[in-house]
């Protein structure tokens, strides 16, 4: 599978989905007006990956900001990962947040409570 590599912009995150390594990363700011347009290709890609995933997939989410319309799209990404996990593959989500950013920690905890995939909350100390 071809990896997805998208450079970040002031409104959209850097994305690296590498099927060969089983390492997926979303990093930066996700505040576009039209989030579906940005995330749909990622969700479609995960649908294909789901057909033959590696035994272990690691997902690193390092978001500085995300808007509420991205929050629904990110949930869609997690739902695909949940399906991979449900099919007896190991999936681990590392949710990074800056040390003073309780809102970002709480956002991660929201997803953790909705999605049945192990989450690790990782504080970034500067």
């Amino acid at each position: 599978m071809e990896p997805i590599i998208i450079e970040g912009t002031p409104k959209t995150p850097t994305v690296k989905f590498d099927a060969a390594q089983g390492i997926f990363e979303i990093k930066g700011r996700s505040i576009p007006e039209n989030s579906v347009e940005f995330y749909k290709p990622l969700v479609d890609w995960l649908d294909s990956y789901k057909e033959g995933p590696l035994p272990k997939t690691v997902v690193n989410i390092k978001l500085e900001y995300f808007n509420t319309s991205s929050s629904k799209c990110i949930l869609d990404v997690f739902k695909k990962l949940e399906a991979i996990h449900k099919a007896k593959n190991e999936v681990e989500v590392n949710w990074y947040y800056e040390e003073d950013d309780e809102d970002m920690l709480e956002a991660g905890e929201d997803y953790e409570s909705i999605i049945r995939v192990p989450f690790k909350m990782i504080e970034i100390v500067e």
Binding site: E33, L75, D100, D110
Partner: protein, 185 residues
């Protein structure tokens, strides 16, 4: 009947206006406002916690205008704007106020007011649960909004909304939303 968009501001003179905009709210305007306010907060040495809250609330406020404003009334002075909105960012001591204004037709005004009242009478825990419920159960609307903007703002600020609907004519009101962002919450 006199109608003046700036009336609301002259009635509430506290704080310094650090940004004021009225006109069409498109993607470029949103980018510009976000960059300007972020630069000003960095220049003012604001704590990153407060900076992030203000930035988040600003994103949601602007995108609420972008996704949800109703068309301007036919006799309004500015007919060129597809999405007419007004925004002010004020610094008031250690707090920021983000004030938006936009036209709403009367039917939407009723729905909006019911939504705001529901949020304003909810506890912080209830707002968190409401956020999670909408996140998990509601699809993104045709307009592209998630229906989460106001709930998210209430959750992040921990403050009640101050708002008013001023009658413009028989079909339109002008809606003001005044959001306090401070460090305590």
């Amino acid at each position: 009947m006199s109608f003046d968009l700036e009336t609301y501001f002259s009635e509430k003179p506290e704080g310094n206006i650090i940004l004021f905009y009225k006109g069409n709210v498109d993607s470029d305007v949103i980018n510009h406002v976000l960059d300007t306010v972020e630069e000003k907060m960095i220049a003012a040495n604001e704590q990153s916690r407060l900076r992030k809250k203000v930035y988040n609330v600003l994103v949601e406020s602007l995108q609420n205008l972008y996704h949800h404003v109703d068309k301007v009334p036919a006799d309004f002075e500015d007919q060129s704007a597809e999405r007419y909105g007004m925004l002010a960012v004020k610094k008031d001591g250690n707090s920021y106020r983000i004030i938006t204004g936009n036209f709403v037709n009367l039917e939407n005004a009723l729905k909006l007011e019911a939504k705001i009242k529901r949020i304003n009478r909810s506890s912080h825990e209830e707002i968190k649960e409401l956020y999670k419920f909408i996140l998990n159960h509601q699809r993104i609307s045709a307009k592209g909004g998630g229906g989460l903007g106001l709930v998210d703002i209430a959750r992040k600020t921990g403050n009640k909304f101050i708002y008013s609907f001023r009658k413009y004519n028989d079909t339109y009101s002008f809606f003001y939303l005044d959001i306090l962002v401070n460090e305590e919450n």
